[in-house]
């Protein structure tokens, strides 16, 4: 059994390295001449310079049904085309591909092509961050020029407020902790909520009180 990686720039390099280290035979197909030359020097893999979308090129690889084909081309339609070629002509059972546009998942599923939904993965990771910024921006919009201000405070592990309950901080009137962003959750704080390192605190306070707020939370 061999692993055939088609397309891609850096991902195939590290992928191939790991696979080779685990004892697999790796084939790498790319139509970029420079990448092929570089990898032929640095990787102990079979490097094939050519367009993976062409059956003539694929025919050279001696692909067999139990080989694993990994598709890393930058376009869904290219990956789909190659996936179908190797399924039809060499009866390959296991095809894994990058998927940029997740709405195409249904078509890949239909043909039993496994997909790595890159866009979805990135979205899942940045969504909490986007949400946090949205909240701050929204409150800022409402508060600005109306005598209030919004502060965002990152809690470090050595911060003096870390591991304390909010009520211990003796927060004066005119300062409100509106929210705590903890990992991918937005917490609505209460007096007994414990602040933890890596939390992000969102404060709303009157402009006069912002200095006091900084003193309480930072100094």
């Amino acid at each position: 059994m061999k692993v055939i990686i088609i397309g891609g720039e850096r991902v195939p390099y590290f992928l191939a390295k790991k696979l080779i280290a685990s004892g697999y035979k790796v084939y790498f197909v790319n139509k970029d001449k420079e990448i092929c030359e570089e990898y032929s020097r640095t990787l102990n893999a079979a490097i094939i310079y050519g367009d993976g979308q062409s059956k003539v090129v694929l025919d050279h690889l001696g692909i067999e049904p139990d080989d694993i084909v990994v598709l890393l081309m930058e376009r869904d339609r290219k990956n789909f085309f190659i996936a179908r070629l190797v399924q039809e002509y060499y009866k390959v059972r296991n095809v894994v591909t990058f998927l940029n546009n997740s709405e195409n998942e249904d078509l890949f599923d239909r043909y039993g092509i496994r997909t790595l939904k890159v866009t979805d993965l990135i979205m899942q990771n940045i969504e909490p961050l986007l949400f946090e910024n949205e909240v701050v921006e929204m409150i800022k919009d409402e508060a600005s020029n109306r005598g209030a201000t919004v502060l965002k405070i990152d809690v470090d592990w050595d911060s003096k407020i870390a591991d304390k309950a909010l009520h211990e901080l003796k927060i004066p009137d005119g300062i409100v902790v509106a929210g705590i962003v903890r990992e991918d959750k937005y917490l609505i704080p209460r007096g007994d909520t414990i602040i933890k390192p890596d939390d992000k605190l969102i404060l709303i306070c009157s402009e006069e009180q912002s200095k006091t707020a900084m003193e309480i939370f930072f100094l």
């Binding site: 059956k55 869904d76 339609r77 290219k78 789909f80 179908r84 039809e88 709405e103 078509l107 239909r110």
Partner: protein
């Protein structure tokens, strides 16, 4: 041949709805011709400039956008299409759009231009009728040559 079919359809008062993807030299002519003989036609093309090459009397619709994206095919009302014709210059694109048309939007008749002869088999296996300009040209040549040979040998007798 096509026109007889169209006449029949006209008699039963049915207008075929055709989506043509790609407004290159082939797509343009196909869309214009089908519209001229009475089909309802929408041509999908991502470059607005290419659409300006359509003849002035083209009576069909146009949809601007990349046909590999679902919302573009939805805007072109793909779920209502009787026939999908893909004519872009890239075989993987034609293949991808053809299969989204047939498998996702349920279009029963799909015709595709296939640039590279070696790809014809894959299209046919996937239920897409493939039109390969190179194969057509070679077939035509072959037929003309054989006819010429027949004439020559016939004269020789």
């Amino acid at each position: 041949m096509v026109t007889i079919e169209v006449m029949k359809l006209k008699q039963i008062n049915y207008r075929l709805y055709v989506i043509v993807v790609g407004c290159g030299r082939v797509g343009l002519e196909v869309a214009a011709r089908l519209s001229y003989i009475g089909f309802d036609v929408t041509i999908v093309e991502k470059s607005p400039d290419a659409l300006s090459a359509l003849p002035e009397d083209y009576g069909g619709f146009t949809t601007i956008g990349d046909a590999t994206e679902r919302d573009v095919l939805k805007r072109a009302k793909a779920e209502k299409a009787d026939l999908l014709i893909t004519t872009t210059g890239d075989d993987p694109t034609n293949y991808f759009v053809s299969l989204i048309g047939s498998k996702i939007f349920g279009i029963t008749n799909v015709l595709s231009l296939v640039r590279s002869k070696e790809n014809v088999a894959l299209f046919e296996k996937s239920g897409i009728r493939a039109i390969s300009p190179i194969s057509l040209t070679i077939d035509t040549f072959e037929r003309s040559i054989l006819e010429g040979v027949e004439l020559a040998t016939g004269d020789g007798k």
